[in-house]
């Protein structure tokens, strides 16, 4: 794998995370638990779609084949998407949505803080811009994890169930392979294993306040970074890609 290929794949992974999570959150638009929160979730979705666009613009530049961001976003096969399994999980309810977001936000914040130091100026600039958004997302998701965890008996049960279900996708946040090794060596990317502990500590701290616990069974799933997904992604993509597939090569 060349450096160029590794860096391209590296950026696309982050872009896919933003894209798929943004798509999931946008399903909430018009259906939120209260108007104010509907607007808040949409804001996060918009930030994520914006991050996708920035990251994909950089990716297609690196690739240098003259593709546009929409080809990348809409016209790959399922196994070519390299997002985390966590972000493709369905919304289920507001509790699942918040827990999924919280696990992701803590990871994203740590990763993008480090990426601000990337030797690639463009990536560093994207990281810096996105970081402001991510910090707000993390504040929002943390507050809600605490509210729901320490709210009513029902909300506690629901949000704990979400934690129990989604925990098995958290180890994959720190997945690394030859793509990462290559970009870490060159200072383009970051070694996420360095802040695995910080992630765990942050989550535990919020969980303590939320009276939530980490499940006993720690068996983990992975595969997203290599294109092996859960069953949920196929449906998400068929919906997302519908227009581009049904009406190829048109301007919208």
């Amino acid at each position: 794998m060349t450096t160029q290929e590794a860096f391209y794949n590296y950026i696309v992974r982050f872009g896919d995370d933003s894209l798929i999570l943004g798509q999931r959150l946008s399903e909430w638009c018009g259906h939120g638990p209260i108007l104010e929160e509907d607007i808040a979730l949409t804001n996060i979705a918009l930030d994520l779609i914006g991050q996708t666009t920035n990251l994909f613009e950089l990716a297609v530049q690196i690739e240098g084949k003259g593709k546009d961001v929409d080809q990348l976003a809409f016209l790959r096969l399922e196994k070519e998407y390299t997002n985390l399994l966590l972000v493709e999980q369905p919304n289920v309810d507001f509790g699942y949505t918040i827990v999924r977001q919280f696990f992701f936000d803590v990871f994203r914040k740590l990763t993008f803080e480090a990426l601000c130091q990337s030797s690639d100026e463009k990536l560093a600039a994207i990281a810096e811009k996105s970081l402001k958004e991510i910090k707000y997302h993390l504040k929002h998701s943390s507050e809600w994890v605490i509210r729901l965890g320490d709210g009513t008996e029902e909300s506690h049960t629901r949000v704990q169930a979400a934690v129990n279900t989604l925990w098995k996708f958290t180890n994959e946040l720190f997945y690394q392979d030859e793509v990462d090794q290559k970009v870490i060596e060159l200072g383009l990317g970051v070694d996420t294993s360095l802040f695995k502990e910080a992630w765990q500590l942050h989550v535990e701290k919020v969980f303590t306040e939320a009276t939530l616990t980490i499940p006993a069974n720690t068996w983990q799933h992975e595969g997203g970074r290599k294109g092996t997904h859960t069953e949920h992604l196929g449906y998400l993509l068929s919906e997302m890609q519908y227009m581009q597939r049904a009406y190829p090569n048109m301007e919208w």
């Binding site: 399903e27 638009c29 638990p33 309810d93 581009q244 009406y247 919208w252």
Partner: protein, 316 residues
């Protein structure tokens, strides 16, 4: 305390309205004025909220990242507009959630247009162009409405709404100048939305019982028919510019009146849709009711947590 009798108060009230002095929440106002406003503002708010759904349909299927972001931002604005309007209604003592319950029970009405389905991506263009276009025409005069909080909310809404119609027309004109499939898609969309858009202005003036009083109170500043005619006059030209055909064989420029003559509106359809028998009435209300019911545990949790926090702070 005021010792004036109702008649004097009403006279003073109308004098203020005639002098273009705004009415503010705690000012004395006739009960009928308050009731009319509460009905009008909450209907308006409900329309914004229900109006999120037909477009929300297409967010997950938007054909590009740019269009996805624009559509998300637009539907989000509609939530915001609903919120500004509910907030204006709250100043009259109309509690938001009970007003929403009236919507869910079918007691409160909302704009009939949102009971039509969005069947293609072109509908995102047509809704922006026609539905927001019609809404803006209705709303601009309301920025001068006599009730302060409503007028202020409308100023904000109109400011934000200006991008809605433009993004819609951009989609329409792109498709109208696109491939044959795209052109057909947008013409089909116009065919479906034209007449429902004209119905958005409400019944003919002869059949609009509350209009005269509302105009006198300056909570309505132009009549339904005036607004409808104004809408047709500007829209016909826009359709011609992009080469689309308005689906009305009676549409014809009238030199004498300086306006377009147009065909008969199917008022029976309008009445049926208003009464709940449109293609999507049930789906729309079900979606909103589900959102509220599924969110109940979230709202309760936040309340319970806030109370716990308060107690904790007190004991510290």
């Amino acid at each position: 305390m005021s010792t004036k009798n109702i008649e004097e108060l009403e006279k003073e009230f109308q004098a203020k309205i005639d002098a273009d002095i705004k009415i503010e929440p705690n000012d004395w106002m006739p009960e009928a004025y308050r009731k009319t406003l509460m009905r009008q503002i909450s209907q308006h708010a409900h329309s914004e909220i229900v109006g999120m759904l037909p477009e929300g349909n297409w967010i997950t299927r938007a054909p590009s990242l740019k269009r996805k972001a624009v559509l998300l931002a637009k539907v989000q604005d509609e939530a915001g507009h609903g919120l500004y309007l509910y907030s204006a209604a709250e100043t009259l003592g109309l509690d938001r959630e009970s007003s929403i319950d009236d919507l869910h029970s079918g007691k409160a009405k909302y704009s009939s247009i949102f009971n039509y389905p969005t069947l293609s991506w072109a509908d995102m263009g047509t809704i922006g162009w026609l539905v927001d276009g019609a809404a803006i025409m209705n709303q601009v005069p309301l920025c001068r409405c006599s009730y302060g909080p409503y007028a202020r909310a409308m100023v904000r809404v109109c400011k934000e709404e200006s991008f809605h119609q433009r993004q819609g027309f951009e989609i329409v004109s792109l498709l109208a100048n696109g491939t044959p499939e795209q052109k057909q898609m947008v013409q089909d969309s116009l065919n479906r939305f034209w007449w429902p858009a004209l119905m958005m202005f409400g019944p003919n003036d002869d059949n609009s019982p509350n209009s005269a009083q509302s105009v006198k109170w300056k909570i309505k500043r132009m009549s339904n028919d005036e607004l409808r005619q104004q809408f047709i006059d500007v829209t016909v030209l826009q359709a011609e510019m992009v080469g689309l055909t308005i689906p009305d064989k009676d549409l014809k420029w009238n030199e004498a009146t300086g306006h377009y003559d147009f065909g008969a509106i199917n008022w029976e359809e309008f009445n049926q849709v208003i009464q709940g028998n449109g293609p999507c009435n049930k789906d729309r209300i079900d979606a909103r009711r589900n959102a509220k019911e599924n969110g109940a545990w979230v709202r309760e949790a936040a309340n319970a947590f806030a109370e716990k926090r308060k107690k904790k702070e007190l004991t510290h």
